[in-house]
Symmetry: C2
Subunit: 400 residues, 2 copies
């Protein structure tokens, strides 16, 4: 009655066998692409489809954000050693190559569920404990550590949502695809990694080209000011060649931000737009134009007050130097009707969060009118591994 | 800084004002339809779009199932009286008419979020306590009571998911739309109704015409045998003219069924298909054909055993009389990695669950091979109110 368990397969076949299978999965990518095309919403660029796993960078960062995402954080149990971690990355790399191509994993008994590829991406990221465990701490990016504490706003941070040894970002246009993929990758990890937390998010499906940027639960357009992900702003998001083995990697910052819907409901539209510094309907700065018009931060009203308040979120968040930019890829969450049950999974990618993200977050902590209605309860920083070359697995150079 | 709260509006304007506004919202339905068309996935029939709220029946039953749904169960606090319940139904009717037409509610400060209509439907249903509170117990359908206890399987039923006084089913192609609508309708209820539980579900987006019936988390096609919802099987789903004020109403049964993914993972493909009586890949009966081919329940294999096991789910679930049919509209849930965190929100609609649903459920409780891997933790029965005529609110005839 029982099929061989995944762990038995891992133990029996060993690394060589699995590497070979990874290559086999890669060879079927043409078929996978055809299936992926079926799952594409209209209006999505061809380049945003599920695509070949192997390459210099992982997917799930530059891709147009899918409607659903989950972040699954794992710790490495004490008994897990360097070789176990290598095995885990090998298996995950193989599984992800197959799942994002629309095939079942090696031991998947529901391969039909994997056919629902829906622009699936899986992004593997690691925390400081990962490098300690594999005995390569010196290779960790220097910025890989918890964010500094922002005293003004961080009073309700909860370790429940803190950084861990590993994190998977799984995203697709279908919640069913995300659920199946999550299940497969947790099962594949078996006793090698323990789930610490799961955060789920959603956004407006991208099939709505008239819609523009995502609207969060406050109705605000979110992520208006974002770098260009087609090459121009590469250095903002990705580690460059000077990063050695980490070239093609990135930093992933996850802040779980409660949005207090009850108190927001009691604020009028003027207060809401003033707090953001933008109009709610079209996302334009209060100084006019449309969503993409640069704001006039010096403009005054008839009484001599700034049109865009000194504490407006957009003023405080705006980069004051070219390096203060990063890629926002936020998702709403609505897990329960508890007071902290609704909000934003704020996710940002950049080459160096200490240099790029922290100065902006510090300004927001000091004075951001939105802080009246929001507070973070989770904060985590991970290093997104560089992509895996053909026939390799993620992080392979760390085990050379 | 504070806008008038919804409760202040309710208290101040009274019923006459709100009824007038309901008509105004209805007059804008042309505009709403145009917006709704933007949210339609390709391949969805025009009739399945968000549409005029008023009519003989509520929406969300005959519509092709949307990718996301939530069921929000409410109790009526002790202080709430007949007139309060009428007020609640008036406000909800107005809000639902507006939201499903792509407009904000009367006091919605984020009307932009309501533009994301995405085939939104909201279905209002009531429990026995509703009729007691309004002093019209005699008018409740005779079948409106908890299902009988099915001793073989119901040992883990939890009152946490039991029936209540009111229940909203909110469904749309976008989780963001569902979330916004849920928030608006809970806020509108204010102190008139208290949230008892929320169940969320998802299914494969219907934009996949090649996909056919929904696959549940076990990879099984679910809902293959369903009545025709375009008129032929009306009497299966809807109360007829002989039901008096309830004509156009329906019963909604919600069973929360845990699916034990760990033990399912240990079953091989043969055992899985045998338990269902169908192939996993195309959903065809084990006696051949395709998903829609009738099974040959008498067929034997070379050894003389039935090809479709006597305990196979499909054999047990199959109607043994014409009245043993109902509309399945199930959704998967994946709320947590706890043992009961994944499964199916089984939702069925029919004219009379005692007559149509209970005999089938009794057979499944007695012997269904799937019971090895599944068990219900929630069970609720509600009466879906008939639709509201032009200018009326849901349930209005009960307050005449």
């Amino acid at each position: 009655m029982s099929a061989p368990s995944r762990r038995a397969v891992i133990g029996g076949a060993g690394l060589a066998g699995l590497s070979g299978l990874a290559l086999a999965g890669c060879g079927r990518s043409g078929e996978g692409d055809a299936k992926a095309a079926n799952g594409d919403p209209p209006g999505v660029a061809v380049t945003a489809r599920a695509r070949e796993f192997h390459g210099a960078r992982q997917h799930g960062i530059a891709d147009a954000p899918q409607a659903h995402a989950v972040w699954v954080a794992f710790s490495l149990p004490k008994a897990v050693r360097r070789d176990d971690v290598r095995r885990l990355l090998t298996v995950w790399s193989d599984d992800i190559a197959r799942l994002t191509a629309g095939s079942g994993t090696l031991t998947d008994q529901e391969p039909e569920l994997a056919e629902m590829v829906h622009r699936l991406t899986v992004t593997v990221a690691v925390g400081p404990g990962f490098f300690e465990r594999i005995g390569a701490s010196a290779k960790a990016p220097s910025w890989l550590k918890p964010l500094p504490r922002f005293d003004q706003i961080d009073g309700r941070l909860d370790d429940r949502w803190a950084g861990t040894d590993l994190c998977l970002q799984i995203a697709a246009e279908s919640a069913a695809t995300v659920s199946h993929t999550q299940r497969q990758l947790i099962t594949a990890a078996g006793r090698l990694a323990k789930v610490e937390w799961v955060q789920r998010g959603f956004r407006e499906p991208v099939a709505q080209p008239h819609w523009g940027s995502m609207r969060n639960l406050f109705g605000q357009k979110d992520g208006t000011v974002n770098p260009v992900v087609d090459g121009e702003d590469d250095a903002v998001i990705w580690a460059g060649d000077d990063a050695g083995w980490f070239a093609g990697g990135s930093a992933m910052v996850i802040r779980r931000i409660v949005m207090d819907m009850d108190s927001w409901d009691r604020a009028d539209r003027y207060s809401r737009e003033n707090a953001m510094g933008r109009r709610l309907d079209n996302g334009a700065p209060l100084t006019g134009g449309d969503e993409m018009t640069p704001p006039d931060l010096l403009a005054k009203d008839d009484l001599g007050f700034p049109v865009i308040d000194n504490g407006a979120h957009m003023r405080r968040a705006m980069p004051r130097a070219p390096h203060e930019r990063f890629l926002r890829r936020p998702y709403s969450y609505d897990d329960s009707t508890d007071p902290d049950g609704t909000g934003l999974v704020f996710v940002a990618f950049c080459a160096d969060p200490v240099r790029q993200f922290v100065p902006v977050q510090r300004r927001l902590a000091q004075a951001d009118l939105l802080n009246l209605w929001t507070y973070p309860i989770g904060s985590a920083v991970y290093a997104v591994l560089p992509g895996a070359a053909d026939g390799e697995y993620l992080g392979q150079s760390l085990f050379a």
